[in-house]
């Protein structure tokens, strides 16, 4: 597993965007904290560690829904939250972009198991 410095700034940016999974404008609170299950964020990088913008990132729940998004100009993506009924072990993160192939997917170890905290997963690709 490659060792990359943790990027607290990006992590905070993700939390600030946590209202992204928000809803209607009339019906009340947007979120249902009781049901916050796994969520993900991370970078898609090339072989040299440079972030890849506009890469497609897929989170696939085994036998269930797929969630497809693209990385930002800074190579960052975020996905979630899934229901807490969903086991993180049943979720596969993958990445793709024309001219690249995925080499590996690295899950950052989290200090403690807190389902409300996003899981950092980095996706590596190389040319070819």
């Amino acid at each position: 597993m490659s060792k990359l410095p943790i990027r607290p700034a990006c992590f905070l940016a993700f939390l600030a965007l946590g209202t992204a999974w928000a809803g209607g404008d009339f019906g009340g609170p947007d979120e249902n904290p009781e049901d916050q299950g796994p969520s993900y964020f991370g970078f898609v990088r090339d072989a040299r560690g440079a972030p890849i913008p506009d890469a497609k990132v897929t989170a696939n729940v085994k036998n269930g829904v797929s969630f497809i998004t693209h990385t930002t100009a800074a190579g960052l993506y975020k996905i979630g939250s899934f229901s807490k009924q969903v086991n993180p072990g049943d979720i596969t993160i993958s990445c793709a972009k024309d001219g690249y192939r995925q080499t590996r997917v690295v899950k950052r170890p989290s200090p403690k198991v807190d389902p409300s905290k996003p899981i950092e997963v980095e996706c590596r690709m190389e040319r070819g």
Partner: protein
């Protein structure tokens, strides 16, 4: 479970209206039949004033727009000889005295129109102009986008409720069905959820922008500029429907040139003959007694037959255009709760696999009707997501009858695979965009309105990629889009009284102002005419409107 209902043909109710006034065959071949110039003391010659002409006893109003010299002209072929009442729309102004004009055969009538400043500007503001005028943060104003589905902001602005009374009013609003208009208020069987804190905040805010503190508003009433240039080159035809209670929601034309519409608050399918102005209604029976009446989505299948999403009446209603009979597809009793609601239907590609897509609003789910068994299958595309405000809304189907749906509650486009039933969700680049209605173009691209983001957008399934464009006027809140045969996008909203025509290739746009306050829902373009004809219903105004650009 498939009940068949032979149409109670409304031969008696087939309302023929307006033979007077429109008779293209007898009108002049070319040029203009009625011209004039518009001036005011304040501005001199006025550009962008909408001039409307309506023959005595007629239900059809024709509208043109003055050019930069203040001149207007009704093209020949629109107005038959007769006496016409004239009206105008130019925010801040009104006619300086009544205006009628006699149009004779074989010659051009001329009338010059003088305008004076209005003394009641508030009565002329669109919802967009109220949004712009009211002080407050975006967060304070945001919940108001829900209000305009039933009434204008003028009603809120003129109210005298303090915060506590306004809170009671807001609570009362949760008891009404979303298919309510001022002419026909309908109660829900199950009240809407609401959050007390949000409602208290909203009530307190509204009490600062209404007339609870005094006889006039504490802020300036701001108006949008009048149309200029290209936006003045259009002819608008408005067909009044025979009852004020009719709330046309989705409008579309058939191969026979007829205009069909769904009625949001009554169990009728409406039909208008734009050539003669004759109108007919086809009644379908009450499906669920005690539940709000009316339907929302109106779509055509591959055979040209029409499908209605029956809202709180529940289930789907198919109309055979040839035999003029209805067939009702009911939910099973165990799936049909007091909150059940089908707002959408997508039968467009049902010939592929015998399946018609719809939604179940109460469970935030997709449903799929099997035409052979008549059974609905429930598909929950959000099953694996954290619970939230999801709401599958606008639907489109590709050539293999795979479904694309808008998550109106949130910010994603979804796809349901027709073969596997598996869902894929694609979040829009803009957060909290609340995608609303949609259409698929000939290339399989999904065009849609981002209601809460004030944007129109395109999703290309081939590349899993989005494009978004901000609409020109802030606080428009587009409801729907339609891409015509020339690749131009048309859009409208419940707020701005303007129809957007946008060229995504060039990035150019023009906004046509409509003659009256017009709560716009589904937009439709008839590609069979040259130029194309834009069609829309006035959901609160009981009329059908067509617009043709003069360039």
């Amino acid at each position: 479970m498939l009940s068949k209902f032979a149409l109670a043909a409304i031969s008696g109710a087939l309302v023929l209206f307006l033979q007077l006034g429109v008779d293209p065959a007898r009108a002049q071949e070319s040029g203009t039949v009625l011209t004039g110039r518009i001036t005011s003391a304040a501005e001199g010659a006025m550009e962008g004033v909408l001039v409307s002409a309506r023959a005595a006893g007629s239900s059809i109003t024709f509208t043109v727009v003055s050019d930069r010299d203040g001149r207007f002209g009704f093209p020949a072929g629109r107005l038959a000889p007769g006496r016409y009442a004239l009206s105008i729309r130019a925010v801040g102004y009104e006619l300086d005295g009544p205006s009628t004009v006699e149009v004779a055969a074989q010659k051009t009538a001329r009338v010059d129109i003088a305008l004076r400043k209005t003394r009641d500007l508030a009565a002329q503001l669109s919802n967009t102009e109220w949004f712009t005028s009211m002080p407050g943060t975006a967060e304070q104003k945001r919940p108001l986008i829900e209000c305009m589905s039933c009434h204008t902001f003028e009603r809120i602005a003129r109210s005298r409720y303090g915060a506590d009374e306004m809170y009671s009013v807001l609570k009362r609003m949760t008891t009404y069905a979303n298919n309510s208009t001022m002419q026909r208020v309908q109660r829900r069987k199950v009240d809407r959820r609401f959050d007390e804190d949000s409602f208290r905040k909203l009530a307190a805010y509204l009490a600062t922008v209404n007339l609870s503190k005094g006889p006039s508003w504490s802020y300036e009433l701001k108006t949008l500029p009048r149309p200029t240039g290209r936006a003045t080159r259009a002819v608008i035809t408005e067909y009044d429907l025979p009852r004020k209670t009719i709330a046309p929601h989705d409008v579309r034309t058939g191969a026979d040139g007829m205009v069909w519409y769904s009625n949001f608050v009554e169990n009728y399918l409406g039909r208008l003959d734009p050539k003669t102005g004759s109108h007919a209604e086809y009644a379908y029976p009450v499906i669920k007694p005690g539940a709000p009446l009316g339907s929302l989505a109106l779509e055509a299948d591959n055979d040209g037959n029409l499908w209605l999403a029956a809202m709180f009446q529940t289930g789907l209603v198919k109309f055979d255009v040839r035999t003029r009979t209805f067939r009702i597809f009911r939910l099973s009793p165990e799936a049909n709760t007091d909150a059940s609601q089908q707002s959408m239907v997508m039968p467009r590609q049902s010939q592929i696999d015998g399946k018609v897509w719809t939604n179940e609003v109460s469970t935030q789910s997709i449903m799929r009707l099997d035409l052979v068994s008549g059974k609905f299958e429930l598909i929950d595309p959000f099953k694996y997501l954290a619970k939230g405000n999801h709401s599958p809304y606008g639907l489109a189907a590709d050539a293999a009858n795979n479904l694309y749906f808008m998550d109106f509650g949130d910010e994603a486009i979804g796809r349901v695979d027709a073969k596997t039933g598996q869902s894929t969700l694609y979040p829009t680049p803009t957060k909290r965009s609340r995608p609303r209605r949609t259409m698929m173009d000939a290339q399989g691209r999904v065009w849609f309105a981002e209601f809460a983001a004030n944007k129109v957008a395109m999703f290309d399934p081939g590349r899993d990629a989005f494009k978004e464009w901000e609409v020109p006027t802030p606080h428009t809140y587009p409801y729907d889009v339609f891409v015509d045969k020339n690749g131009e996008l048309w859009s409208g909203s419940m707020s701005s009284d303007r129809i957007l025509r946008f060229d995504p290739e060039r990035g150019t746009s023009v906004e046509y102002l409509l003659p009256r306050q017009t709560n716009v829902r589904r937009v439709f373009v008839d590609d069979s005419t040259t130029p194309v004809t834009f069609w829309v219903g006035s959901n609160h105004g009981a009329s059908i409107i067509s617009l043709q650009a003069l360039e």
